[in-house]
């Protein structure tokens, strides 16, 4: 138990007969930027969805900030967590979705301010100020009054990032944030994520197919395969000199 802000301890996740996570052990340190790569169906996104409490687990324990995420310690035993515990834990995390998942009936400003007002209890004015700062950060200061469908995919995803940041999470999860974008819009989103990685002490966990980008921004890259981490290391190690055959095959397939 070092300074790990996220720790998976023999976590099992099944969908019916399919074992998605097979006794996964995994750690992320505070402030670390970690990329998860791997073939589809290898359980990459599931790791993020479990952390965001969108999917439960079937075995093992997930720790966030030293506390079990899906369990509560009661009378010396780890019992399944109640909604109150999950709510408290959830406030440490934010998520950026592959499909953006913006609220289509709200303006950009409202998308970003709604949760801070309703969930954190900020005043409209404070939430507004916070949102303006964040829109500035993602380069959309002039789009506050628009509705999501009036924006390009890249702009929508940047709003998605601002919306997650408005809740001031200490861990930000990116679930294939550029996979749904047209190629020419990928760059603007990656620039924003890259800037966040550089300037903030946020812990970042990124599932991505953008290998070059993962290499640039990550402190560590994990190669997932069949529900486990097959290999992990610094971007240099993993991309230039992978030790596992599976990693080499995967990188070759995706980089060609």
């Amino acid at each position: 138990m070092t300074d790990a802000i996220i720790r998976f301890d023999k976590v099992v996740k099944r969908f019916g007969d399919l074992t998605v996570l097979d006794e996964l052990d995994f750690e992320v340190k505070k402030g670390e930027k970690v990329s998860i790569i791997g073939p589809s169906g290898s359980g990459k996104s599931t790791v993020l969805r479990i952390l965001m409490t969108l999917e439960g687990i079937d075995g093992g324990v997930v720790y966030v900030d030293g506390e079990p995420l899906w369990h509560e310690l009661r009378e010396g035993a780890l019992l399944p967590a109640g909604e109150g515990h999950l709510r408290r834990m959830r406030s440490k995390l934010g998520m950026v979705f592959q499909q953006f998942n913006l609220f289509p009936h709200m303006t950009v400003m409202r998308n970003i301010t709604e949760a801070p007002v309703k969930v954190l209890g900020l005043s409209r004015k404070d939430a507004h100020l916070r949102a303006e700062e964040l829109l500035d950060l993602v380069g959309l200061a002039d789009q506050a009054k628009k509705f999501p469908h009036q924006l390009s995919g890249g702009q929508q995803q940047r709003v998605g990032i601002a919306r997650a940041l408005a809740m001031r999470p200490s861990i930000l999860l990116f679930d294939e944030p550029t996979s749904a974008l047209d190629p020419e819009l990928v760059g603007e989103v990656l620039t924003v994520i890259g800037r966040l990685a550089e300037e903030h002490d946020l812990t970042m966990l990124l599932v991505t197919h953008e290998m070059r980008f993962a290499r640039e921004i990550s402190d560590r890259v994990c190669f997932f395969d069949r529900g486990q981490i097959r290999e992990e290391g610094t971007p240099e190690e993993l991309f230039t000199d992978p030790s596992e055959d599976r990693t080499r095959e995967f990188l070759k397939a995706i980089l060609d």
């Binding site: 965001m52 409490t53 969108l54 709510r87 959830r90 406030s91 995390l93 934010g94 998520m95 979705f97 499909q99 998942n101 913006l102 609220f103 289509p104 009936h105 709200m106 709604e114 949760a115 309703k118 969930v119 628009k146 509705f147 469908h149 009036q150 919306r163 997650a164 809740m167």
Partner: protein
Amino acid sequence: MHWSEYLLPLTEGAWVTVQLTVYSTILGGVLAFVFGIGKLSSNLAIKSVSVGYIEVFRGTSLLVQLFWLYFALPLAGMAIGIDLRLPPVVAGVLALGLNIGAYGAEVVRGAIQSVHQNQREAARALNFTPRQTLFNIVIPQAIPEMMPSFGNLAVQNLKDTALVSLISLGDLTFRAEQIRNFTQDSTTIYTLLLLMYFGMAVVLTIIMRIVERFAGRWRMAGS
């Protein structure tokens, strides 16, 4: 009696029909939301009551519901010593509203379920409570989906008001029957009746279209 002399009593009847339609549609709308949301509740009692209400009122005839409220309920009340006699207007609005509410509840339920799971996940990730998610995220997106069906139900309801003439309420159909009994001029009267119902239905459809546009205005922003 010249046909133009029919117009005044028919217009008076039409006004009663309009009032019945408006009140029962509003009542039905409220019931539709309460029980449509109730049917999706995780609370078994609330869910059962909602399902029970929807199935009973969809599964029985409106005419029988109306007669039951107007003729049977007072007798049932008398048996247990409570005065449950309802004025015809109240019985009419109740029967129509309860009926349309049961159909509307299914519309509300369907529209709520049609909102993409993505939206609920985003709301959960932002730590909205289930109630906030329902009322701030899901229902505002579901309402535009409901509107076309609500429009149909409202017109259906307008036409169903003709049944209340059978409990001596002076609506459009009741007045037409009175004049017909007096003059035997069936062709003229029923033709006028058709035209007047159709005219009201057209107006109602236009109103519902306007409401529909208003409810979905965020979809049209900028285009």
